[in-house]
């Protein structure tokens, strides 16, 4: 109702507390900016080391995820990223795909 974007979708609005009044919005092609980051040398990833990023999307919304196809030493607050649908886990031959952030070429 108030326009606050939630990632992932949720039922109660953080901002206005309205319940069950969300509308789906596609953010797959929307760019974002790294708000803070870490290189996690303990957590599991198919592409270690895990680069953990908090991404603020253009026009609102924040999502915390793994960054991929990136140089760990080059990540900064302010790095521009887009979203990409990638394999996150594989167990017993079953693959789990979800969203990761990827640096947008030529923006750093």
């Amino acid at each position: 109702v108030c326009g606050f974007r939630h990632l992932p979708p949720t039922r109660v609005c953080l901002n206005c507390h309205a319940i069950d009044q969300m509308e789906p919005e596609r953010l797959a092609e929307v760019g974002g900016t790294v708000a803070t980051f870490t290189i996690d040398r303990l957590a599991f990833s198919l592409s270690p080391p895990v680069i953990g990023v908090v991404v603020d999307f253009d026009g609102g919304g924040r999502y915390r995820c793994e960054m991929t196809d990136a140089d760990p030493d080059a990540v900064r607050i302010g790095t521009r990223v887009g979203m990409t649908f990638r394999r996150i886990y594989t167990a017993a031959g079953v693959h789990n795909y979800f969203w990761k952030a990827k640096p947008i070429e030529g923006t750093n």
């Binding site: 939630h6 990632l7 992932p8 949720t10 953080l14 708000a35 803070t36 980051f37 870490t38 290189i39 996690d40 040398r41 303990l42 957590a43 599991f44 895990v50 953990g52 908090v54 603020d56 609102g60 919304g61 924040r62 999502y63 915390r64 995820c65 793994e66 607050i77 996150i88 886990y89 789990n96 979800f98 969203w99």
Partner: protein
């Protein structure tokens, strides 16, 4: 804030704390028995005099039987609870409310955790299965988000930031070096801390708290009864607990340089205790230094330093054991490790020793001799932007 507070209505009349560490020689039942034995002796009561029990543990047992079985309790009420890493403080808070209500005369809060038996170097705990989309960051990684955000916001050079974090670990190891109950009892040089292998972001091994086993406990009663048990009780001035809406990971308005939950619980606790200038009024603070950036940010969230200045205060030694406001004089999570259920009560145990001048001379803090009577404990669980926070204040004098 809707909390009314129970200032000066409840008193601590006995406490105990086992040595923390790799206690291969002790099981959960041994640790609980050791802490209980010391605590009842401290209060000068028999176990059978205690009317009700609150047991805090994250993963070392479920149900009240975890306590009633080893202690052979005589059909007494035992609540078992967890609230992430603030579990020990939560056990204490509930025991205080139980005696304040008049439902019981004597209650015991006890916390325990045995982390070393899990075969995993980190915190244990059973959580519901997720949907497989979470990035699954480690705890040090989640807390390391604070470091670049803080440095970026306040213009601290990354090298300088590393020095600040290193100084916090150095200080807490130095305090733990003279504490026989601590897991790590050696000073560690700044060079060693700074050069330790990286775990997450800027955080090295020495920026992380230890992994240990331990137990600690407190016996509480209504303040009006306290002098039946001891000439030197500690009065409960404030108990505040906040569970946040976990806004950080979804709200671009959150900048990873603060714990809003801590700010709220600190404001509430200071209001309950009648504290207006914590840095000037508190004798000491025990805070949740799970990772070095946590302690840095807490100095601002708890009102010990202005926003953007805690890093300078850390370097200046403001929070050293002989500084203006000693923080973690016992060595903190850094030196004690973090047996989850026990940590909040371990913090309180240091207030018990220091405010009543029972700490050995080599580590007794000067602020108590200077007339300060209040100690703060801060315990948090979760991660930056999505946590629970406890702030408590105890004092050696009833309010005028």
């Amino acid at each position: 804030m809707a909390s009314k507070g129970i200032r000066d209505r409840v008193a601590i009349v006995g406490m105990g704390c086992t040595p923390f560490g790799e206690r291969w020689d002790k099981g959960v039942e041994d640790l609980l028995t050791d802490a209980t034995k010391e605590t009842v002796a401290s209060a000068g009561v028999a176990l059978g005099d205690i009317d009700a029990f609150w047991l805090g543990t994250m993963g070392s047992g479920v149900s009240g039987i975890t306590l009633s079985k080893p202690l052979k309790l005589d059909y007494k009420p035992v609540s078992r609870l967890e609230n992430f890493c603030a579990t020990g403080s939560e056990a204490f808070r509930n025991a205080c409310y139980a005696v304040a209500s008049g439902a019981y005369d004597l209650a015991m809060a006890i916390g325990v955790e045995k982390l070393k038996d899990s075969g995993y170097s980190g915190l244990v705990g059973v959580r519901p299965v997720g949907d497989g989309t979470d990035p699954g960051l480690s705890s040090p990684a989640a807390f390391s988000f604070l470091a670049p955000a803080y440095a970026h916001k306040y213009g601290v050079d990354p090298e300088e930031m590393k020095d600040v974090l290193t100084r916090i670990a150095w200080k807490n190891h130095r305090n733990g070096a003279v504490n026989p109950r601590a897991q790590f009892r050696k000073e560690v040089s700044l060079e060693t801390i700074k050069a330790s292998p990286l775990v997450a972001g800027q955080l090295g091994v020495f920026d992380c708290s230890g992994v240990s086993d331990g137990s600690a406990a407190a016996i509480v009663c209504r303040a009006s009864d306290a002098h039946r048990y001891t000439d030197h009780p500690l009065y409960v001035k404030a108990l505040s607990f906040v569970a946040g809406p976990a806004a950080g990971p979804i709200d671009p308005g959150y900048d990873y340089t603060t714990f809003p939950e801590v700010v709220r619980s600190a404001e509430d606790a200071y209001r309950q205790a009648g504290i207006t200038d914590p840095r000037a009024e508190l004798a000491m603070a025990e805070v949740h230094d799970c990772f070095t950036p946590t302690e840095l940010v807490l100095m601002e969230d708890l009102g010990f330093a202005e926003r953007g200045t805690a890093w300078k205060e850390v370097l200046a030694g403001t929070f050293d054991r002989d500084g203006e406001l000693p923080v973690n004089p016992d060595g903190g999570l850094k030196s004690f490790g973090h047996p989850i259920g026990a940590s909040g009560l371990r913090m309180l145990f240091e207030c018990w020793l220091q405010l009543r001048r029972e700490a050995p001379p080599e580590r007794q803090i000067a602020s108590v001799d200077a007339g300060r009577t209040l100690g703060l404990t801060h315990n948090l669980g979760g991660a930056p932007g999505e946590c629970v926070s406890f702030v408590g204040v105890v004092g050696s004098e009833p309010s005028a």
